[in-house]
């Protein structure tokens, strides 16, 4: 695939000098888009896993703590007798404090607030709970008790994330197409510049692939150079974004991290780009030479 030597003075071409810079920019954007997709994948997986197997039952605050406890026990019994529910437990006041702390601060006292009582319900994996019927029964036992199964919220959220991912992948495809277009343009210019030399090679019996190989190798070298540079700038950017997101960490926001395989995917992006550039240059030259006798 690689030319051992070049008969065409492609390395002296002024018109191809901008190619590595353009490719560097493309790879930089591609790395960000790809990393964005991976991070969103991670978020989806975390939230999906954490939320789809759970429900929360909310009981309105009663006038007296004793009545509160009685309501909780009533509801827990109903829940534990319901098929499809693995476990149910009341959220302790300490946990409530932890949840409210980011909004109300450490000084707030739970005793002073008429807080609803929350019950954390874990569903049996694969079990089918009749949420509407259960809600009716709970309402009969404790008026105004309601069930939040997160599903509506989660479905909307997932749809949003998927849309963002599709946009990121579209951006990635557009970047690929722009790279291909740039390489085609550069190669065609090269063909025009070296037309005379190409004709001589052609007439002394060079196969089309012999000529195409020289352009393909050149495009690969330039693209790899640009791609590695783009990657070298993109990685610190990603790390900086990761540190920033960790610093902003709030209760519901997982840290933006990627797995080793995802880092590897990002690492091979310049090589994929170089391969794409090489094949593009090769086919551009072959198509052009096919018009010669």
């Amino acid at each position: 695939m690689f030319a051992r030597r070049s008969d065409l003075a492609l390395e002296q071409d002024g018109h191809s000098r901008f190619l590595p810079w353009l490719i560097a920019f493309m790879v930089f954007l591609a790395v960000l888009a790809l990393a964005g997709t991976f991070i969103l994948n991670g978020l989806v997986a975390t939230w999906d896993h954490n939320m789809s197997g759970t429900m929360t039952v909310q009981l309105p605050a009663a006038d007296q703590p004793k009545k509160n406890q009685a309501n909780v026990n009533k509801v827990l019994k109903i829940l534990r007798d319901t098929p499809g529910i693995q476990s149910a437990r009341a959220v302790t006041s300490g946990e409530m404090m932890g949840l409210l702390e980011p909004w109300l601060g450490r000084a707030a006292s739970l005793a002073d607030l008429p807080l609803p009582q929350l019950i954390d319900v874990t569903l049996t994996p694969g079990g089918d709970v009749q949420v509407k019927a259960l809600a009716k029964r709970l309402d009969a036992a404790v008026p105004h008790a309601n069930i939040d199964d997160h599903r509506v919220w989660l479905a909307k959220f997932l749809r949003l994330i998927r849309t963002v991912q599709i946009i990121a992948l579209s951006v990635l495809i557009l970047i690929g197409l722009a790279t291909v277009g740039t390489v085609i343009f550069t190669t065609r210019t090269g063909l025009a510049v070296h037309q005379e030399a190409i004709e001589v090679l052609h007439l002394i019996g060079a196969q089309d692939s012999y000529i195409a190989r020289q352009f393909a190798t050149r495009a690969m070298v330039l693209a790899l150079r640009g791609g590695l540079f783009g990657l070298a700038i993109a990685i610190p950017t990603l790390i900086a974004l990761g540190i920033l997101s960790a610093a902003m960490k709030a209760g519901t926001m997982p840290v933006l991290t990627m797995g080793v395989d995802e880092w590897i995917m990002i690492g091979i992006l310049p090589f994929i780009t170089a391969f794409l550039a090489m094949m593009t240059a090769r086919f551009t030259v072959l198509r052009s030479l096919a018009k010669m006798l």
Binding site: D7, A9, A197, G205, A206, L293
Partner: protein
């Protein structure tokens, strides 16, 4: 020309050529060149000599008629097989067409390299041939730094380095002095003796007379043949044998390149 049993290196049958919608520059050209023949191609400027050569070295397609090279009809030969045919043809272009960014050595090495010859052999044969044409001191010189005559010798060396079966030369001695012209003609004659079919387009009538080979004469786009046809000529008939050793030691005479055998 109708002897179908005969093996032809080049055969033209009623070939016509026109550029675009212009008039025909070649009309009903028919001739055949046997293996090992030597012809001069004569004609006034604009008579179509270069066009005829371009048809022969597969740079052009005829507008009509049939062209066969090495008994292959060019019109029906798949494009991917044409490079192999081209490698059997050596061409000395009128304007040399050397690659200016390559050294004299690399220019001459091109036909061997595109044929995939090992670099060791390339090195040996190219150096030898360039030394013989008097360019030993200029192996690494770029063509723009060479004189017209030196460039012409590089062009000739490039055309003959792979020991072609057919050598086509357009005014190959136009820029060299008489002595070098004669020397180069003897190189061609030696190649011819080794079996290469040769066609040389020239205006140098003295040279044509001296060498005594038959002529293809182009006049107003039509071809006339003079002299004995299809007979390989003895180059040394004019008594130039004394200079004999130069070619065969300098030419990669004993080497075989690529897959095709040499006769």
């Amino acid at each position: 020309m109708s002897n179908s049993d005969h093996a032809w290196v080049v055969r033209f049958e009623n070939v016509g050529l026109r550029y675009g919608l212009g008039p025909e520059v070649l009309q009903d050209v028919s001739f055949g060149l046997s293996p090992g023949s030597f012809h001069f191609l004569l004609g006034a400027s604009g008579a179509g000599k270069s066009s005829l050569l371009r048809l022969m070295y597969l740079a052009l397609k005829p507008s009509r008629g049939l062209i066969s090279l090495f008994d292959r009809d060019i019109a029906t030969t798949p494009r991917r097989l044409l490079p192999e045919l081209r490698r059997r043809i050596g061409v000395v272009f009128q304007d040399f067409r050397l690659l200016n960014h390559l050294s004299a050595f690399d220019n001459v090495a091109l036909p061997l390299r595109v044929a995939g010859v090992r670099e060791q052999e390339v090195e040996k044969n190219v150096t030898e041939l360039l030394s013989w044409v008097g360019l030993k001191e200029h192996l690494q010189a770029k063509p723009p730094t060479l004189s017209g005559g030196q460039q012409q010798r590089v062009a000739i060396a490039r055309a003959v380095i792979a020991r072609p079966k057919l050598l086509l030369a357009d005014e190959p001695t136009g820029n060299v002095d008489d002595n070098m012209a004669l020397r180069l003609m003897h190189l061609f004659a030696q190649l011819n003796k080794l079996g290469t079919t040769i066609v040389i387009a020239t205006h140098n009538e003295a040279m044509v007379e001296r060498m005594g080979f038959p002529c293809l004469q182009l006049e107003d786009g039509a071809l006339h043949i003079s002299g004995a046809q299809d007979q390989p000529m003895e180059a040394d008939d004019d008594g130039s044998e004394s200079e004999e050793p130069f070619v065969l030691t300098a030419m990669p005479g004993n080497a075989r390149y690529g897959s095709e055998g040499r006769s």
